[in-house]
Amino acid sequence: MIEIKSLTKKYGDKTVYENFNLSIAEGSTVAILGASGSGKTTLLNVIAGLTPFEGIVPQLKCSYIFQTPRLVPNLTVKGNLQLICKDEKRVDEMIETAGLKDRAASYPLWLSGGEKQRVAIARAFLFGGDVMLMDEPFSSLDLKIKRQMFSLFFKMREQNPITVLTVTHDVDDAVELADRSIVISKGKIIFDSYQHFKDSSPKKEELRAAIVDALMQ
């Protein structure tokens, strides 16, 4: 269990979180939704250790798929992955799994948006760690590419099980990817699908409607 306790985070005078608590079961995929400025990305950055905070957040080895791929421009696809993992065999296998075999020697500038994001996903799975953080990684992709990314994500997840915390503003993405959805507003959890549906397993439509209701509050 990953437990965040009494998290307080402020940007100057603005308080984003005050005494925020969250427990995440290991191996689960949790989607975090909320309006812009509700602190979704801040939560990921706190967990990744990218921003200072007060409270108790376990020091975790995190992989992070950012909103933009953040690839090193002067390294090839393979070079970017080798920067994270020195095991060439594993890197080659990951390139194969990500469908990037033909692009292994390409530089980021030569790749399409979808291909770059594939590399970013491959990098995150190669790094592994205790938790994988995803900050709207598919938001800029068109529907077809997004579907391909989802399949790739599930395929890699199956081969490399890991706890996932994903931030999204797309309800469909949350329903599709996560087994638990949380809506945050003004630094508080206003909806948690685990609590809302208790022991029952909601249908996708029910879950979608409940999340939309929470977001409209």
């Binding site: 791929p69 953040r70 421009p73 920067l83």
Partner: protein, 262 residues
């Protein structure tokens, strides 16, 4: 007019016009002043200029000046690169370097030359190198640090999350990001180094150098020779600047394969 000439040809035309204008100012100034000890005639300066080209001692002096400039630049660049890398990787190093670099930057050049001449028992070859280093080092350090600080913050966060080592950050992110900017500034830095070197040679009376020759010409009242030597210094400064700019253009073409993904 733009259509007839094209942009490149038009730029060459403007440059030629500017050179013609400067030449005209010279001719008018020489005529107006009417004293060759103050403003030498263009024709006399040109005669001295071509005389220098045939003079072996001029080429020896030029070689020594260029060598000293290159040595001062290389030392400045290497030390600035090491210090900027340390400052980029450690806030403590950055804080420690701030007063040191600040001190070097404000050191008065003339006073330093006199002190160095005293310390080096009057060795007039070392003082200009040290003075040029003292001017170039803080400037190159500031340029490198500004380039490093300008590196995409997203990449820095990625490096932190994925726990890249200091060596990996330096060689995979920092150096490749800083290199194009650094190369484009190298020509201007060496040209400035040459300018400072000649000034320092004049002040230190370094005989085996352009500055020393200028000082000698000035002492003897050979103003046309002084003007010809100045013209030579300008021409060689320009040659260095243009040559390095061309080199940068070639590396730019090579770097076209790169780019940022954000």
């Amino acid at each position: 007019m733009k259509k007839f000439f094209g942009k490149r040809k038009l730029n060459i035309l403007f440059s030629a016009a500017a050179i013609f204008f400067m030449w005209l100012v010279w001719i008018i100034a020489a005529y107006a002043v009417g004293n060759q000890l103050l403003v030498p005639k263009f024709s006399q300066t040109m005669s001295e200029f071509f005389g220098l080209l045939a003079d072996g001692s001029f080429w020896i002096a030029l070689t020594f000046t260029l060598l000293r400039t290159l040595i001062a630049f290389i030392i400045s660049f290497l030390l600035a690169a090491v210090c900027a890398s340390a400052a980029a990787l450690s806030d403590g190093a950055r804080a420690a370097l701030r007063p040191i670099v600040g001190f070097v930057r404000i050191l008065p050049t003339l006073a330093v030359i006199l002190l160095i001449l005293r310390w080096t028992a009057g060795d007039r070859n070392i003082a200009p190198v040290i003075v040029t280093f003292l001017v170039l080092f803080p400037m190159i350090y500031a340029q490198l640090l500004a380039s490093i600080d300008g590196i995409d913050g997203g990449l820095k966060e990625m490096a932190k999350v994925y726990k890249l080592s200091a060596r990996e950050k330096l060689f995979s992110i920092y150096i490749p990001a800083v290199l194009p900017n650094t190369l484009s500034q190298t020509g201007a830095n060496i040209s400035l180094g040459l300018k400072i070197m000649i000034s320092a040679e004049v002040l230190a009376f370094t005989l085996q150098g352009l500055g020393g020759k200028m000082q000698l010409a000035n002492s003897g009242g050979y103003v046309a020779t002084l003007a010809a030597l100045t013209l030579m210094a300008v021409i060689f400064g320009l040659i260095i600047d243009v040559s390095i700019s061309q080199l940068v253009r070639i590396t730019d073409k090579w770097n076209k394969r790169e780019g940022n993904d954000d």
